[in-house]
């Protein structure tokens, strides 16, 4: 059994694919170098990230599977599933083997696994794009914190850049200490901790109260259906939607 160890990023994955093809090795698993625990039941192959070979694989993938393939692989890598790297690898390898777009051949396990993972990540991004809550700081910057299951900050932030336009904002993934900062024109991703508290704008608390009041008023008491509310608005996301707090 052969295991590939590579960097958990797109070029690391592509470099692993390059070695897999040029040396005709089909690894059993592909594991992130940062989390790898020594194992004695397999042959380990350490893959160094190599820009040039990654570029060659990227070109081939674009040629066979179209413009979105790398973006989809990146989405898969942002999944919290511990097997995400292997799943992305197997999917991309299958494209290179078949030399065509195989994304709709869902009866193939490697395709359905990949598609499922991508859907899960995109689903979380969609959910969070509604449930995230911004607070306005005294300086006018909007600030939101959250702790998503998947590493979605980089794919979530552009959604808010488009809608908030010139208003600067910060999205803070507390779980990974990862932040997306928008200056109203572009987004920068950084890894850092932010101060726990900051001064809020003058009318922040009044707006919060209005929103809480709205949430209460719009509910139809005679049609109580908290089971459905719980189903669609799971507890872990409610943590950020302060209007639901008792």
């Amino acid at each position: 059994m052969i295991i590939f160890i590579c960097d958990y990023k797109i070029d690391g994955l592509l470099s692993a694919l390059f070695i897999s093809f040029t040396e005709n090795i089909k690894p059993e698993e592909v594991i992130d170098r940062a989390t790898y625990q020594p194992r004695f039941d397999a042959l380990i192959r350490e893959i160094k990230t190599d820009k040039q070979s990654a570029e060659r694989v990227k070109k081939a993938l674009y040629k066979y599977a179209g413009d979105d393939v790398i973006a989809h692989l990146k989405v898969c890598l942002s999944s919290c599933n511990p097997k995400a790297l292997s799943i992305a690898f197997n999917y991309a390898r299958y494209i290179l083997e078949m030399r065509k777009d195989i994304s709709e051949n869902l009866s193939q396990k490697c395709v359905s696994d990949f598609s499922y993972l991508v859907q899960r990540v995109l689903h979380e991004r969609h959910i969070v794009s509604g449930f995230l809550r911004f607070q306005e700081s005294a300086s006018g910057v909007l600030y939101a914190q959250y702790a998503p299951d998947n590493d979605i900050t980089s794919i979530l932030a552009p959604h808010f850049l488009r809608r908030l336009g010139r208003t600067p904002f910060v999205i803070h993934d507390k779980k990974r200490n990862k932040i997306a900062i928008s200056d109203g024109r572009a987004i920068k991703i950084d890894y850092t901790d932010l101060p726990a508290t900051f001064a809020l704008s003058e009318n922040e608390s009044a707006i919060n109260d209005l929103w809480r009041r709205y949430f209460k008023a719009v509910n139809i008491k005679e049609r109580k259906n908290t089971r459905q509310q719980d189903g669609y608005f799971t507890r872990r996301y409610r943590h950020y939607a302060f209007e639901t707090w008792e």
Binding site: S107, K109, I220, N225, Q228, Y232, F233
Partner: protein, 418 residues
């Protein structure tokens, strides 16, 4: 800024309008502007009644000159009254929007002074929102029946969606319960909004006018019309008024002083079945007659697609590897997504039951109506199938689902998708 007291009054009076969707528009942000629209819509919260909160649903005023029996805002009802200014609404929308509480605004109003005066106020608000507040998020306006058509048309160039509510499923019920309204005042603007001049026929979409189209709503159970009657009317409106959606709201009694209205609330399951039937009309190629069969009402025990399939067992089982897309969509348990996955995957290889599981096709209901490579593993007895369908429903506790929701892993209460 609007104060909490008026906010509560104006929302209280607006909340029975069931339309909550923020979908159907791709409006882009402008330089220096705030907001855009997401074509699929986004839910921002869920209230304890299980409904999605996507838009700030509010009235400009609840001070009505009319006296519709079924409505909280009727003139004769002694409730607190309030009015907001267009600027107050605009400020609230932008403050809520930038904090990501909402996708946009659903603005309605009681009839203040005259229909024209009210429509003018609604128009002024949406125009201000777009041109002074530079807001590009979603705006749904409720049209005021009887208002000048020019005013309605002008509003259509700023709003994403307009709805005129049909309110009651028949003219007789409307006359009885809302004597100051007449059917033509509701239908005429719906007809106007469906005119070809607003469409780019080549691109098959609306021009800059109402990108998310028009919708309507009717209350179910406050008057005696059957499901068959309601679905026939729905089908007619989809065909003739280019409606994006028909919403159904099961009747909640708010007026106990009249003998014209029932005192009992209508079970949510009836509304849920209508949403499911509506889905069959819009996406599955069913006609209203097929859905209701000879019965006047939809089965409350299982969904209308199951009911149709059980009435037509002679057409089944169908072979998943060769069935037409239209027929696949008629198989209970196979929805649009599953049918699409099957059609794509079967191009590569013949599918068996294990493949269907891998495609995440839910087989609980479907096994009784399909074969895979000629193999049938379901039950052929009509009575047994009925029991299986009822058991499947019970397991899903579908009766607890009502009109809204979002995710496809459950029967979608939002859409009625089957």
């Amino acid at each position: 800024m609007l104060d909490e007291r008026r906010l509560a009054i104006l929302v209280e009076s607006a909340k029975y309008d069931v339309s909550c969707s923020s979908s159907g528009s791709k409006r882009q942000n402008t330089v220096g502007g705030l907001g855009n629209a997401c074509f699929g819509g986004i839910c921002h919260s869920f209230s304890p009644d299980g409904r999605c909160i996507s838009l700030l649903k509010i009235l400009l005023s609840n001070n009505c000159i009319y006296n519709c029996e079924y409505c909280l805002n009727r003139r004769s009802n002694s409730i607190p009254r309030a009015t907001a200014t267009p600027d107050e609404i605009c400020a609230l929308v932008t403050e809520f929007y930038k904090r990501n509480y909402i996708e946009g605004l659903f603005l309605s109003s009681a009839v203040v002074k005259t229909p024209d005066y009210t429509m003018e106020l609604l128009f002024e608000t949406v125009k201000k929102l777009r041109t002074e507040y530079h807001f590009n998020g979603y705006v749904h306006l409720k049209g005021i029946p009887g208002a000048d058509r020019l005013l309605i048309e002008r509003a259509g160039f700023f709003a994403d969606r307009i709805s005129f509510n049909i309110e009651r499923p028949s003219e007789t019920s409307l006359k009885l319960l809302a004597p100051q309204k007449n059917k033509d005042a509701i239908i005429a603007p719906m007809k106007m909004l469906a005119l070809d001049k607003y469409y780019d026929t080549q691109l098959k979409r609306r021009k800059d006018f109402l990108p998310a189209g028009q919708t309507t709503q009717m209350v179910v159970g406050a008057s005696p019309e059957s499901d068959a009657h309601i679905l026939k009317l729905t089908e007619y409106m989809y065909q003739n008024y280019k409606l994006k959606r028909v919403y159904y709201s099961s009747y909640v009694p708010t007026n106990f002083e009249t003998s014209l209205l029932p005192y009992e609330q209508v079970p949510l399951i009836r509304e849920h079945r209508l949403y499911q039937a509506d889905w069959l009309l819009r996406f599955y190629g069913f006609t209203a007659d097929e859905i209701t069969g000879n019965d006047g009402n939809l089965s409350l025990e299982y969904d209308p697609k199951c009911a149709w399939a059980i009435r037509n067992l002679g057409l089944f089982p169908v072979e998943v590897n060769t069935a037409s897309p239209e027929m696949l969509l008629r198989v209970p348990g196979i929805g649009v997504k599953s049918a699409y996955r099957i059609i794509q995957a079967r191009k590569y290889a013949k599918l068996d039951f294990a493949d269907l599981k891998r495609l995440r096709v839910v087989l609980k209901r479907a096994v009784h109506f399909i074969t895979c490579k000629g193999k049938f593993i379901g039950n052929k007895n009509e009575y047994d199938i009925q029991n299986v369908m009822i058991a499947a429903e019970t397991a899903e506790n579908a009766e607890q689902l009502s009109m809204f929701g979002a995710e496809s892993s459950k029967i979608s209460a939002l859409t009625g998708e089957l």
